[in-house]
Amino acid sequence: MVKPTLDPSSSSSIATDVEPLLEFDRVGLEYPFEGSMRRIIQEVNLSIKPSEFVSFVGPSGCGKTSILRMVSGLSPAPIGEIRYRGQRIKKPLNNVGIAFQNPVLLPWRNTLNNVMLPLEIVPPYKNDFGQKKAEYTRMAQDLLSTVRLQDFQKQYPWQLSGGMRQRASLCRALIHQPEILLLDEPFGALDAFTREEMWTMLQALWMRVKCVGILITHDLREAVFLSDRVFVMSPRPSTIIYEELINLPRPRTLEMELDDEFNHYFSNIRRHIHHN
């Protein structure tokens, strides 16, 4: 009689908390440069739990954007691997939401229809998009009112300000209830006041969807305000040189920025940023 053998790793991990949603396992990246391969990312090892919001900060050229492209599967990790629920990411995942610095809304669609685009493409929504259009429209209107765009549903992108376009782009990234939200310097092109306003709106949206958030940013205050954890990357060839756990209660408010605690996190992170 053969007894089923217990997997030692699964039996020992009962005591630890939730399984990670994403695991980076010796992730590296190199690029051809003037005839030889230049190492961009030396090695990144980390794991991200479900509904955790993390940020990557670091000098430009350290491979931050590449990390997002690897997680999304748009360009899978060439060295090492990133696992999503234990599965190696080899091709684009289809349950992610993405927002870039450029909001890239479709000029021929009004705000509402731009936000609803993912529902026409991602299953299961696309299968009953015809029948449930009214319900889906309410979903989109709900998100739009979270970012105070409820009165701009019928407007076309050219009629919106930069900040409004970016808010619509965030709604589009979240409407299909993705498990992972990827943000590549989404507020980089906005002025300081608009940017702070966007933080609170993004937080409100994220708290509704409760997905993993991965933010790439140059703005350390933005990273502290939004994240549960902030990863600091070194200059090229980069690794994670510092990790800060942000224990501020949610929802966070802009007043918190003035608190000692907030500034303590900020200066801890700032101290670890090195330039190329």
């Binding site: 999304s72 599967g73 748009l74 684009p92 289809n94 870039f100 890239v104 479709l106 021929w108």
Partner: protein, 258 residues
């Protein structure tokens, strides 16, 4: 003191109709005046009044030949749209098609089409076919190039958004590629419509048995210059009408443009 405000008038809708009309009338009035003042003989430059007289006198010929030019142009143009759009999509979407066909297309486009017409006449005879083919040959290139350009200019971030949603090639084309390319197509249609007219008339003047191009050659060889001018003016009118039609259609289809 007048309350007339020029800036205000220039922005109004009626200015778009009134001013071109005035410009046309002034041009013809000046023309008439110059011909009278300098006593220019009609076989050098006929006065507008003389051209109108020719139009009335030769109405049946002008009408029949205009129709011939119109349908050969339109047929060549429609073929150019179909072939141009298909070629444009091939070049725009397939690197293989781009590398193999694009240099050939550029080389072909460089050949003066007037030089091909005698060959067309040998192959098809002096009838409507050379005119249709020439109209097609002149018109398809700008359409193909613009369609390819349109497909090529979709923002990479937009492609990433669609890819990360798991969109298929067909969905990406439907949701982004096609609507993004439409303005480029319309821009090229306006150019291609004029090119088709030019092609048809070039061909008619070399190898044909009818059409305004043919009529102009016949009229000038009879020293009936007013009739030749009448044909030219009809040609210009047809060109403006077709152009205006596409501008109107463009406004309807590309509703999102400012």
């Amino acid at each position: 003191m007048s309350s007339f405000n020029l800036d205000h008038f220039l922005k109004s809708k009626s200015a778009g109709i009134v001013l071109p009309f005035i410009a046309t009338v002034v041009l013809f009035a000046l023309w008439e005046l110059i011909v009278i003042l300098f006593k220019i003989p009609p076989f050098n430059l006929p006065a507008p009044s003389n051209i109108v007289r020719a139009m009335v006198e030769f109405t049946p010929q002008l009408f029949a030949n205009s129709m011939r030019t119109l349908w050969t142009t339109l047929l060549g143009f429609v073929l150019a749209v179909i072939v141009g759009v298909i070629l444009g999509f091939m070049i725009g979407y397939s690197r293989l098609a781009y590398l193999t066909m694009y240099p050939l297309l550029v080389a072909f486009n460089t050949i003066p089409k007037a030089a091909i017409v005698p060959l067309l006449a040998i192959w098809f005879g002096a009838n409507a076919i050379p005119a249709t083919v020439t109209a097609f040959l002149l018109a398809f290139f700008p359409i193909a190039v613009n369609v390819a350009l349109g497909l090529d200019t979709v923002e990479p971030e937009m492609k990433d958004v669609l890819r990360s949603l798991g969109a298929s090639q067909v969905e990406t084309f439907q949701k982004v590629g096609w609507p993004h390319t439409l303005p480029y197509i319309f821009a090229s249609l306006k150019i291609a419509a004029s090119f088709a007219f030019i092609g048809a008339v070039i061909s008619e003047s070399v190898a044909s048995n009818a059409g305004l191009g043919y009529l102009i050659v016949q009229a000038t060889s009879d020293f009936n210059v007013p009739l030749a001018f009448a044909a030219l003016i009809l040609l210009a009118i047809m060109g403006v009408i077709l152009y205006t039609f596409f501008v109107y259609l463009e406004k309807k289809v590309i509703y999102w443009a400012r």
